[in-house]
């Protein structure tokens, strides 16, 4: 490649000399017919063309050749290089000076045009890549195109892109990567450090320690790594600039790919959540039907008219309790999964006392063995809650208190307005919760004893949090207390017209 370049350069000089000889002959022909002054300007045309076409070298060579030939053939004494009159000398000097300046101007014009052309080519290539990337639904296709475009640069022997998803690199475009290359890429991405290369101000700088075919350079991108094999000796400034532009485009495209992947992942999670809830819902339905037959059948036989012995009846009552427990667990599981999937709350203003009243009624049978003490201030403002979910919250807390309070023990419920929220608590005089467990009691499936499902308090936490509140457990002097907050309703007082 290098020999061909110098051969063509030699040809440029030959053309320059030849051109000057042809023009000299033309001037000689003209002057033999008529005496015309200033014909030396004809040389300038040639020099201008040489400079614009091949740069300064051939143009300067042409200038010198023109100077010598004009002196030899036309400046008296003719056919010698000597100059007789000062006017002839001046003419020659002017010719040389103008020729040299012309070659300089022409060659800088040529350089500017070449740069403009290179830039146009570069932006065109980038434009094509970018439009292809935007049109193609698969970013990987565009990235492969980009890699191929990079390989068209003469100095680039390798251009590959590795994506780093969730911390693990994998070959994405431009060919496979070896295990050690992947390792290097991972290191480079993790530390944000380039190896053997640097990109600054839109241009690539090479920092070579090994030949390109031994070790490629690594350039970390936002969501991956570019692996580049490049010959530092061969690379021109244009190529390095193009490479920087390609790397920049690759960076953008890979970022787009990651964003697409992430949104896809989020959609997948969301639909799997919905699926889970749908499966649980239908499963609960399927589970509850046989439980319903079980309970109806078992309780039918406990009637005295069924004629069973007392101990047989007792056994059936126990079995019915187990069936009820199973039923509650299925219900809790479904309620929890619905809450986790982001249940739509139907929030309305409710009196806290009303909500508590519904919950205590529901647990009438259980709470009959406890002393229930309720202390609510008269001016307690209404809360803005979903009636069914808030009812579940209170029922679960009361049930929990009932389970832990000793037989005939006290359950205390209270509420107060605090910092624009309602703060309420349910306390029992059962055994204290181990300090290390105070936070864990709300965990799903966490339970202090084998009997519970471990879902009741987890549901409480979800309900409270769905309403934007908080819940915590603490040990008071008498026993464990669960405190939670609920939002207050906007309505300060009921409408006056409502009572009439």
């Amino acid at each position: 490649m290098r020999t061909r370049t110098s051969a063509s350069r030699l040809a440029h000089y030959a053309v320059a000399i030849g051109g000057v000889i042809v023009i000299t002959a033309a001037i000689a022909l003209i002057t033999s017919v008529a005496s015309v002054a200033g014909l030396s300007a004809l040389y300038l045309l040639l020099i201008l063309w040489l400079g614009a076409r091949w740069g300064r070298g051939p143009a300067v060579a042409g200038s010198i050749a023109a100077f010598l030939l004009y002196d030899f053939f036309f400046v008296p004494p003719v056919n010698t290089f000597t100059v007789a009159a000062p006017a002839g000398l001046l003419e020659l000097i002017v010719l040389l000076a103008v020729a040299l300046v012309t070659s300089q101007l022409a060659s800088s014009l040529r350089r500017a045009r070449a740069t403009a052309e290179a830039l146009a080519l570069e932006s065109r290539a980038l434009y094509e890549l970018a439009t292809a990337a935007l049109r193609s639904p698969d970013v990987t296709v565009a990235l492969s195109m980009l890699c191929r475009r990079a390989l068209e640069l003469p100095s680039v022997s390798r251009f590959a892109l590795a994506a780093v998803d969730l911390g693990r690199p994998s070959a994405l475009a431009g060919g496979d990567l070896s295990a050690s290359e992947l390792q290097q890429a991972e290191w480079s991405h993790e530390n944000g450090r380039a190896i053997g290369i640097a990109v600054r101000d839109g241009a690539v700088t090479l920092v070579r320690t090994h030949p390109a075919d031994v070790a490629p350079a690594y350039l970390p991108l936002a969501s991956g790594v570019a692996l580049i094999g490049i010959d530092a000796d061969l690379a021109t400034q244009d190529e390095l600039r193009m490479l920087a532009a390609l790397v920049g485009l690759a960076d953008l495209l890979m970022d787009r790919r990651r964003a697409a992947l992430e949104s896809e992942r989020a959609r997948g999670l969301e639909s799997s959540d919905r699926l889970k809830t749908a499966i649980l819902s239908s499963l609960s339905h399927e589970l509850k039907s046989p439980i319903a037959s079980l309970r109806t059948g078992l309780t039918a036989l406990t009637a005295p008219q069924a004629g069973l012995k007392p101990e047989q009846r007792e056994l059936l009552v126990d079995l019915d309790h187990q069936a009820s427990r199973l039923d509650r667990m299925v219900g809790d599981l479904l309620a929890l999964s619905r809450l986790e999937a982001g249940l739509q709350l139907e929030k309305e203003p409710h009196s806290f006392a009303d909500l508590l009243g519904s919950a205590t009624r529901r647990l009438r049978a259980e709470l009959a063995t406890n002393r229930l003490s309720v202390e609510l201030p008269d001016d307690l403002p209404p809360v803005d809650v979903d009636e069914v979910q808030a009812g579940r919250l209170l029922a679960n807390l009361l049930e929990n208190a009932h389970e832990w309070a000793p037989s005939g023990g006290m359950i205390e419920v209270g509420a107060t307005q605090r910092e624009g929220k309602l703060e309420a608590w349910v306390e029992n005089d059962g055994p204290a919760i181990a300090t290390g467990d105070l936070d864990r009691v709300f965990d799903t499936f966490w339970t202090r004893r084998a009997r519970g499902s471990g879902l009741g308090l987890a549901i409480c936490k979800r309900v409270v949090e769905a309403h934007g509140g908080t819940i915590r457990a603490e040990n008071r002097r008498r026993g464990p207390r669960f405190t939670f907050t609920l939002p207050l309703a906007e309505i300060a007082a009921p409408r006056a017209g409502a009572a009439t």
């Binding site: 819902s281 609960s284 339905h285 509850k288 039907s289 046989p290 439980i291 319903a292 037959s293 079980l294 309970r295 109806t296 059948g297 309780t299 039918a300 036989l301 406990t302 009637a303 008219q305 069924a306 019915d320 069936a323 009820s324 039923d327 219900g331 479904l334 309305e348 203003p349 409710h350 009196s351 006392a353 009303d354 909500l355 508590l356 009243g357 519904s358 205590t360 009624r361 229930l372 309720v374 609510l376 009636e387 069914v388 009812g391 419920v413 309505i491 009921p494 409408r495 409502a498 009572a499 009439t500």
Partner: protein, 226 residues
């Protein structure tokens, strides 16, 4: 015999369990598996109570309920696995007298059946005085007493209590109360009924956190204890 109960449920096990359980409590029981059979037998067998499962194959519970209503004078207790609140409301407004969530125990079912039968008897007899514990509502004289002491109510409060009393033991939806007390043009605001109920409770000396007379039916409405 305590009464005739028509069981509409497509599950054989449930039919068998209900037949056994209800007959031990002296009910005369007849079971069918579809809505069409229910409509046919409601006309020919003339039950006092129909126990209607909402999840029937083919003609579903709601459609069956609608078809039953103009014909049969039987009380309808709707039964369902995992009903949503709006299903309960829909069933009540379509003419159901009560609803029961599966699974349930026989005792609870028997109590509900007896309650609707009692209510039916009271309505048929045109009983002028309705009692809920020590609360007495004299429909003829428009008076309300608690433990014999008279309670002064506003006309709206009285209307609401009267409507609940006429349907004592039955859950009454917010929409029904609004329509009955405020008229057809009432703006559907549950807050109105809640406020009036709170006022009535206060005057009756009822504790909302532990009510004896008017009970909340979460997501549905109110019920006066029968």
């Amino acid at each position: 015999m305590s009464g005739r109960v028509l069981v509409v449920d497509d599950e054989i096990e449930m039919q068998r369990a209900l037949r056994a359980g209800l007959s031990y409590h002296d009910f005369d029981v007849h079971t069918v598996g579809t809505g069409e059979e229910a409509i046919r037998d409601a006309a020919s067998w003339r039950p006092d109570v129909i126990l209607l499962d909402l999840g029937l194959p083919g003609m579903d519970g709601f459609a069956t309920l609608k078809a039953l209503r103009p014909e049969s004078r039987a009380a309808v207790i709707v039964v369902s696995v995992m009903p949503e609140e709006r299903d309960k409301v829909r069933a009540l407004e379509a003419g159901a007298d009560d609803y029961l969530v599966k699974p349930f125990g026989t005792e609870e079912l028997v109590a509900r059946i007896r309650a609707v039968l009692r209510r039916q008897a009271a309505v048929t007899a045109g009983e002028p005085v309705i009692r809920s514990g020590d609360l007495e509502i004299d429909i003829g004289r428009r008076t309300v007493t608690v433990q014999g002491r008279p309670v002064r109510l506003t006309p709206t409060e009285y209307e609401l209590l009267r409507y609940l009393a006429l349907h004592a033991g039955k859950p009454v939806t917010h929409t029904t109360l609004l329509r009955q007390v405020w008229g057809d043009y009432a703006i559907g605001d549950k807050y109105n009924t809640r406020y009036v109920v709170a006022q009535i409770r206060k005057k009756l000396g009822d504790d909302p956190a532990n009510p004896r007379y008017i009970v909340n039916e979460p997501g549905v409405g109110y019920r006066l204890e029968g």
